[in-house]
């Protein structure tokens, strides 16, 4: 019942808002280049379905590749930090600098360095850079959060550092990592969009570029259609990562338990 409400309430709200939107646009004769009606947006979506899907796929690919690169690099560096205080002290400040520098400001530089002939690599790199830091910092924190008594128990039984890493630190860090992945998934989409905006005409073909293009041509219905797809993509990424989190933690972690009864 509660679950059903969770689904039905937002759906009812959406129908109400869309209905009001359709009504106000028709009733007030708002021109389509200012605010197109939902029906017009749906028509734009249907009419350009093939090309919009191709753009969606482009953006999705950049997002996923960036996300996976960030995941691998962030987790690997976090493991390095957990094994070597020296490496952590030497490298952490640079990770922070990378994090605090606005990505929009570095994006043009990355595009130039990687080169417009490898445009997808450049876009992926930008998406990865945005998503990297939450993975690194949360995983590093998680690896450090192992229960002290369990750690002593491991030492008592002569565990090697790899046994400790694999059997104790990694499972302890898993909820932290999964939480970071949900944030990083959204961030890598933002990174992909920013990268497409910066890359500009002729090179990028993803959803973000379709938005820029439709804006320039005053095809606002098309702009909304692309925007709706982009939002759906973000929601889908979040949903998949939440599902993954639930599947991996459902048996033991407090966060998953509270949702059960």
């Amino acid at each position: 019942m509660k679950r059903a409400l969770n689904l039905i309430l937002p759906l009812l709200l959406a129908i109400a808002v869309l209905g009001f939107w359709e009504w106000i646009v028709t009733a007030r004769h708002i021109p389509p280049y200012v605010l197109p009606a939902p029906g017009a947006i749906a028509a734009a979506l249907a009419g350009n379905f093939g090309s919009l899907m191709a753009s969606l796929l482009t953006t999705l690919t950049v997002t996923m590749e960036g996300f996976i690169a960030a995941l691998v690099a962030g987790a690997a560096l976090a493991i390095l930090f957990s094994q070597s205080r020296l490496a952590e002290r030497a490298l952490y400040p640079y990770a922070v600098i990378l994090q605090v520098t606005p990505i929009v400001a570095i994006a043009p530089l990355i595009l130039i360095w990687v080169g417009f002939e490898h445009i997808n690599l450049a876009l992926t790199l930008i998406a990865a850079l945005v998503a990297f830091f939450p993975i690194l910092s949360n995983t590093a924190l998680g690896l450090k959060s192992a229960d002290q008594n369990l750690l002593e128990l491991m030492h008592l039984y002569g565990a090697s550092r790899w046994q400790i890493l694999w059997r104790l630190q990694f499972p302890t860090a898993l909820p932290y990592l999964l939480g970071a992945m949900k944030i990083a998934g959204g961030l890598s989409l933002i990174g992909a969009v920013v990268a497409e905006f910066v890359a500009g005409s002729g090179t990028a073909t993803g959803l973000a570029w379709r938005i820029v293009e439709s804006g320039n041509r005053l095809e606002i219905a098309m702009l909304f259609a692309a925007l709706a797809l982009l939002a759906s993509l973000g929601i889908a990424i979040f949903a998949v990562l939440s599902l993954l989190e639930w599947a991996l933690l459902k048996n033991w972690h407090e966060s998953a338990l509270s949702q059960r009864n």
Binding site: D147, N149, L150, E152, L153, M154, H155, L156, Y157, G158, A159, Q163, R167, L168, P171, L174, N251, W252, H253, L257
Partner: protein, 242 residues
């Protein structure tokens, strides 16, 4: 034989936890460390387990250090692992083959009355059951020395009494030397062959009391004058220590 000679432990920050701790413990003995909070009981156990080093003094064994089992005040189980996986941990760390580890772990759980709960996660178990899993884990690798740091302090009386009896039986069966830490005078009187009463911080041994335990201990024993006499014996020397 375990010998502590002049063991002193000072922590960073200057807390002197133990000052000149001396004792000997014979094989198969059940010895309780009894003392007020902060007198260094946990520190003594961690020193014996070689998890920390003394500032001075030595702890020696006859021959190489024995296999040790350790039980903490909390069950200290891995929440992501099933009961049997938790119990198997010491064997896994020693690279015991999986099948063999599983059967040893199942056997250890059975000895603690937890047959049928092998596949349960810690959160599915009661406090007393979790402590039983913890005890099974400590026993699974066949230790010669069992160190218990106020293991039953968080349990209700019924669970504590049941675990007291199981502990006595298991230690006797396996011929294990036990060092047991507690605040509770009654628990010390019920379990121990010997009680080492410690002074408040910095801890040292104030009294070393041998207790004459009856052949069988059970719930009925707890209400006899004999048991009351054992408690009085500890209480008197405790009074003398302070």
């Amino acid at each position: 034989m375990i010998r502590a000679g002049g063991v002193t432990k000072t922590f960073a920050g200057g807390t002197i936890a133990l000052d000149n701790l001396d004792f000997t413990i014979a094989p198969g003995e059940f010895v309780t460390l009894l003392g007020p909070s902060g007198c260094g009981k946990s520190t003594a156990l961690r020193l014996i387990a070689n998890l920390i080093q003394p500032n001075s003094g030595t702890i020696t064994f006859d021959g190489p250090a024995p296999a040790i089992g350790f039980v903490f005040q909390e069950p200290t189980l891995m929440p992501w692992a099933r009961a049997i996986e938790n119990v198997r941990l010491p064997l896994d760390l020693q690279s015991v083959p999986h099948a063999q580890g599983n059967s040893s772990a199942a056997q250890a759980l059975a000895r603690l009355g937890l047959s049928g709960f092998e596949q349960s996660y810690p959160r599915e178990l009661s406090g007393g059951m979790k402590m039983r899993v913890s005890l099974a884990r400590a026993l699974v690798a066949r230790p010669k020395l069992l160190l218990l740091d106020e293991p039953f302090a968080a349990l209700d009386e019924a669970a504590r009494f049941a675990l007291n009896d199981d502990l006595i039986a298991l230690a006797k069966q396996d011929g294990i030397t036990v060092i047991f830490v507690t605040h509770s005078l009654a628990e010390a009187a019920y379990l121990s062959d010997r009680v080492l009463v410690m002074t408040p911080r910095p801890g040292k041994v104030a009294a070393d009391i041998a207790l004459a335990q009856p052949a069988t201990r059970n719930a009925a024993w707890r209400v006899t004058p004999g048991f009351a006499a054992l408690q009085a014996q500890i209480a008197l020397s405790q009074g003398g220590a302070e």
